[in-house]
Amino acid sequence: MPKTETEIVVEDPTAPASDSPAVTTNRTADVVVSVLLLAFAALLAYDNWRTGLGWDSTGPQAGYFPFYLSVILAGACLWGIAKEFLARKAAAETFVTRDQLRRVLQVFVPTLLFCFLMQWLGLYVASFLLIAGFMVFVGRLAVWKSLLTAFLFSLIMFVTFEIAFDVIMPKGPLESLFGR
């Protein structure tokens, strides 16, 4: 019997509270998604109808296959919506709580910024900023640790992709300074 049992403990200081109020229910989200997909299906069906859904000398036209798929998609969405409205379940499950939404935005917004910045600063500088910023502001980790990790990771990525594997990424002013 091994006697080397030690516990591993990881804390999560900004964890979402379990009693956080719900932003919306699964049922609402379900209906919203179904309606959006229904609109999307209608749009695609229209486009495929315009492309042509009949038959010509080469067999079915380009719009034939996707047109019927959009009909199937629309049908499934309508079915889902009808089901939600007919089912009279009182207790609906929570889709997302306020705390959870906050956490999700904490990762989504920086990612969005990262994608914007990448176009001007290049991928590697943007990734340094993303990792360092995220670790400091969201993870509340020590600044030096964050900067070092971000620098090392970006550097390793740069060496791996740009130099070793010749995969070309968006580059900005810093890279051109090094003549790459």
Partner: protein, 505 residues
């Protein structure tokens, strides 16, 4: 034994230092993603795919499949030590694995999990070795109608046999199939569903979608959970390993049954999740001592792990032989094959012998090396969990972005990846399954092509799908599976009706 000779040939392709090194790298990376919270097989393979773009196909697929084996092994570590299933199919492993860790038998549980995974995979690989060539050569006779019927069968069985709500599976599948149609039509060269956007001309790249669906969305899903964790650390000593291995033959029935369940559910798109639960429950039902299950019984670790891995491995059988992936991860691997211009399916066995047999040989070797690797390095990987998620999350985001951009060097793909990330997040939360979506995205073009080719061949007559015994029975089976829930319900009612009528008489 033709397969045996080819297998030896496969090993000869494999045994170069470069490929062996890549295997090790793949396994380590795989265990890494398997251990990390919120990442697992499909995510790991999706995120790490871009690493392999510049390699030759054989090295690349060997590395990718090793990432997959590694992730499968890694999932067991978190289930047993932390009670956190890395994957849905490791849920059943926690039932007995975690209690064992609590009792100080973590090393035993881990050894049991790894060894039984190994056995499950081995059985599945043996199945692939001897069955796949036969199926492939049979499928060489397939024409477009047969292929369309097989695709239809795959889609229908997802709808009919899946556990999710039927309309949600249909939504997921129809959406996936529609998105593959975007861009230039391969038959007529016409543009469709592009709405004048030049970026859409190329169509929606499968891998970009997958990186968003599995990588970005997974980060968001993980973030909204409480990430604090506590668990046991374990060190596996040789003595424990030998002890477990000595006990193992006693459970041969469980191991064999679980392997069989896993292989069957892996080939049909039932999946590893169902397999692991089913074999756990069966092991419990057939046990003399039912009460001890859930309290740290080693058999309760053997059963689900064997089944999950047998199923995860055998999912590659239809992918190799027919070009139809049996699971989400297999679908991503298939997408990878297409990047290298390899067309998965029966012709692969004829045209790229070295590749196919190299891959099959790598399954044997990867599993052996993987087993040794996990047994010796568990403490190291368990320590990975000490790294805070707020350091890992942005790194994964960066890796995803690199991957999405590298495929076509397009900024548009980065935005598309983000969009798919949000879609994946919402879909997962409201219970729209992502596996049919992935499958539809990877098979969509070929399904449409085979449909149109059969229509051209028959002059628009739908009866072509019943034109001979083979295609007719596949099509009929597909329709039966599609309406299976209805049929099963009908039979049950009929049965009751007959009983009622007999009852009073």
């Amino acid at each position: 034994m033709e397969a045996f000779g080819l297998l030896v040939y496969g090993f000869s392709v494999l045994l170069t230092w470069k490929i062996l090194a890549l295997m090790m790298v793949g396994l380590v990376l795989g265990i890494f993603v398997g251990v990390l919270p919120g990442l697992g097989g499909p995510n790991g393979v999706a995120i790490l795919l871009p690493l392999t773009f510049t390699m030759d196909p054989t090295s690349a697929i060997v590395m990718l499949s090793c990432i997959y084996w590694g992730a499968l092994f890694g999932g067991a570590i978190t289930s047993i030590l932390f009670n956190i299933p890395g994957e849905a199919w490791s849920v059943a492993t926690t039932f007995d694995g975690y209690p064992m860790a609590q009792q100080g038998r973590a090393a035993e549980a881990l050894t049991a999990a790894f060894t039984s995974s190994f056995i499950g995979s081995l059985v599945a690989v043996l199945l692939i070795t001897f069955l796949a060539p036969g199926i492939a050569s049979f499928a060489l006779r397939f024409g477009p109608p047969e292929f369309f019927a097989v695709y239809l069968l795959t889609f229908c069985s997802f709808v009919g046999l899946g556990r999710e709500e039927k309309h949600k599976t249909v939504i997921s599948m129809a959406l996936g199939l529609l998105l593959t149609g975007v861009g230039m039509d391969t038959v007529s060269g016409q543009l469709r569903m592009t709405f004048g956007f030049d970026d859409l001309l190329r169509g929606i790249n499968f891998l970009v979608a997958v990186i968003g669906l599995f990588g970005i969305s997974e980060i968001m899903l993980t973030m909204e959970e409480r990430l604090a964790l506590r668990g046991h650390a374990a060190k596996i000593s040789l003595r424990v390993v030998l002890k477990v291995w000595k006990e193992m033959p006693r459970y041969w029935v469980t191991l064999l049954r679980s392997s069989a369940i896993g292989c069957w559910l892996g080939i049909t798109p039932g999946g590893a999740i169902a397999a692991s639960f089913m074999s756990y429950n069966l092991a419990k039902r057939f046990s003399k001592d039912k009460e001890s299950f859930g309290k740290g019984r080693i058999e309760g670790v053997f059963a689900p792990e064997t089944a999950a891995h047998a199923s995860g491995t055998s999912a590659l059988l239809p992918m190799l032989a027919l070009g139809i992936p049996g699971s989400g991860t297999a679908a991503i691997l298939l997408g990878g094959l297409m990047v290298w211009g390899l067309n998965p399916g029966p012709l692969l066995f004829v045209e790229h012998k070295g590749f196919v047999w190299g891959l099959i040989a790598s399954m044997y070797l990867g599993n052996v090396v993987g087993l040794v690797l996990v047994l010796t390095t568990v403490p190291l990987f368990a320590a990975v969990l000490r790294v805070p998620f707020s350091a890992i999350a942005p790194m994964i985001v960066v890796s995803c972005a690199i991957g999405a951009y590298a495929i076509q060097n397009a900024m548009f793909d980065i935005w598309l990846m983000l969009l798919f990330g949000v879609v994946g997040y919402v879909f997962k939360k409201i219970g729209i399954p992502l596996a049919p979506f992935t499958l539809a995205l990877v098979l969509g073009n070929r399904a449409e092509d085979s449909f149109r080719l059969s229509m051209i061949g028959s002059g628009g007559d739908m009866r072509v799908f019943w034109s001979n015994g083979l295609v007719g029975s596949i099509t009929t089976l597909a329709l039966v599976l599609l309406f299976w829930p209805l049929l099963a319900g009908g039979f049950a009612r009929l049965g009751r009706l007959v009983k009622d009528r007999k009852g009073p008489a």
